[in-house]
Symmetry: C2
Subunit: 344 residues, 2 copies
DNA sequence: GTGAAAGCGCTAACAA
DNA sequence: TTGTTAGCGCTTTCAC
């Protein structure tokens, strides 16, 4: 059933039917009623491709996840973020196009999207410290919002991000206050901005306490369980001064860390502590009875909503200046957190 | 830059240019060269909406994730599956449209996709034991493949699934062989087919060993960290016969279970064991030095590829009968797995 | 308040 | 081997 058939059925012109369906005011009330009823009855849906061709708007937003951070696709944070964004899109009649792009074809991907008229705008995930995508997107004039930030650029652009540096500084300070002196950081790849900022926060807190960061207590790699296990195992096997606490960049990684801890025969919360930070999440201490885990998840979702809304606003009003949103990570500490008890 | 402009530049008709670009054989070699060069030079990309309107194919596949299994969106398995599918799509010139659908508008979602010409086919996620979507999709004639299965239906349809029942039977048997008698199952919601099958496998293994499943050692709920923590805590606090082993349906949940274990002061691999099964994944024992975790992830990705390929095949050949693929879960046991040692 | 006609950018008969 | 023409299903001027 298409417009032509529907209007034939109603003895009306396509124009009138289209107007009735799209809520134009100049249609008489009774006509609109008739049209709406008939449309419903025959399950009429406008052909999105056709109207997109006629209007020049695709009503579709692209989310681009770089393939190189391949394990990130499996990171729950992506799912939550996208789930949030998705809600905003459906509420506004938009669709979500997901692209997992190899870094090689990256430029292609975006050019296709713009010139190929597949999307009206994009959300860019996993920005790197130096990231050519900002310039590219501005050149081709495709509206975009970055989930995260690009560190080394003078260009203005819209983004939404957590205060990663501050968050990791706080977390490290928390562990220091508990008496820990050997604190390890299991981080993501440092060409990604968020990981770089997290490391800065971590090192800042150590410096503030008069400590020098030890390279053996730092690991940067993909956010996988395996990375967590390997890095933590190696650190725990160190002859002198193995870590008494871990600060971990993702709970996927934390699984590996905790496995390594178990394998080394250590007890959580007694011999050792683990703190996880998951993107724009609150912290929680892994042996707390009730960490704010649910809140945590929903806050990523919230970030997704915000980003989507920012993008839709930009699309509706291309004149606007870039908008930015910095989310302050919350520090949630459970009640059971006692002072650090030295093992053996 | 569009076809019209490009062909004007070349003093050729749109038809010829179109043919040259799309690899039709009747174009002369030299013409094709010229066209390709000029297209490249001007970053020409065909307008996907326009060609889709002209051809009737959208070159887009929809993935629909029901909102009701809301926390599933954050489940890494989705990301991996979609990443796999995505690879197949790009290789074949398809795009991926992601929809997170509320169960209420479920019918709407699919009808829109079909009648609105937004996709050529869909992958259906999180099928329920009784799921009206099979019939709906067949009615509206939208090609689809289900990731998982619908239990209670006589209709034929294409699916790809793990042998969940067998997998959980094996896992339970493994724990029984290690000497465990109080084995808990932390499962997903039982209206979802996979959870229902997993429970069957679990109970079958217990029956085979002459044991009766105990309702207090079974928990079915969303696959969240919180669920894992709450359920495991409650079970461990039981006055008599707390579980000595947990069988967990997802590693997100396992995080919570392990937190509960730590909180109860128990040691992994000594006091207690945990086995995780994650969808079409191999098992691994949580305290093994090197479980096949990476292989595990890539196998979900493989499933995504297979599903995508099945769907594209179906689309290219609508006459074909439904195809089905059953993946046998692999059982990977680490070397450190000793016999169960009774605690206290 | 309604309709006729042109056009969005492409593809695909059919001609030449 | 190339071009002409019609049309995919919708929106949008412009005229009535």
């Amino acid at each position: 059933m298409n417009l032509k058939e529907l209007s034939a059925l109603l003895n009306l012109s396509q124009t009138t039917v289209s107007r009735a369906l799209n809520g134009y005011p100049e249609v008489s009330k009774s006509t609109r009623q008739r049209v709406l009823q008939m449309a419903q009855k025959h399950h009429y849906r406008p052909n999105a491709r056709a109207s997109s061709l006629a209007t020049g708007r695709t009503m579709t937003i692209g989310h681009v996840i770089p393939q190189h951070s391949s394990h990130d696709v499996g990171n729950p944070v992506f799912g939550e973020f996208i789930a949030g964004a998705s809600q905003v899109y459906s509420a506004n009649g938009y669709e979500l196009l997901l692209t997992i792009a190899e870094q090689l074809n990256e430029e292609d991907t975006y050019r296709n999207m713009a010139a190929g008229a597949t999307v009206d705008g994009v959300i860019v995930h996993s920005p790197r410290r130096q990231d050519p995508r900002v310039q590219l997107l501005q050149e081709i004039g495709l509206p975009f919002v970055i989930h995260g930030r690009v560190a080394e650029t003078t260009l203005e652009y819209s983004w939404i991000d957590t205060n990663n540096r501050r968050a990791f500084r706080q977390a490290t300070k928390l562990l220091l206050d508990l008496g820990h002196r050997q604190i390890a950081l299991i981080n993501g790849p440092e060409e990604l901005t968020y990981a770089w900022l997290r490391r800065q926060g971590y090192e800042q807190a150590l410096h503030d306490a008069g400590l020098t960061p030890h390279p053996d207590r730092l690991s940067s790699d993909e956010l996988t369980e395996t990375h967590g296990y390997r890095a933590a195992s190696a650190m725990l096997a160190a002859h002198q001064q193995p870590p008494s606490a871990f600060l971990v960049s993702s709970y996927v990684v934390a699984l590996g860390v905790r496995r390594a801890i178990a394998h080394a025969g250590l007890r959580m919360g007694e011999d050792i502590s683990v703190i996880i930070h998951d993107d724009e999440l609150s912290f929680f201490q892994n042996n707390d009875p009730e960490p704010q885990f649910t809140a945590t998840r929903s806050s990523v979702r919230e970030a997704g909503k915000l980003a989507a809304q920012m993008l839709l606003d930009t699309i509706d009003d291309l004149a606007g200046a870039p908008r930015t949103t910095m989310l302050e990570a919350q520090l949630t500490i459970g009640k059971s957190t006692g002072p650090f008890r030295q093992s053996a």
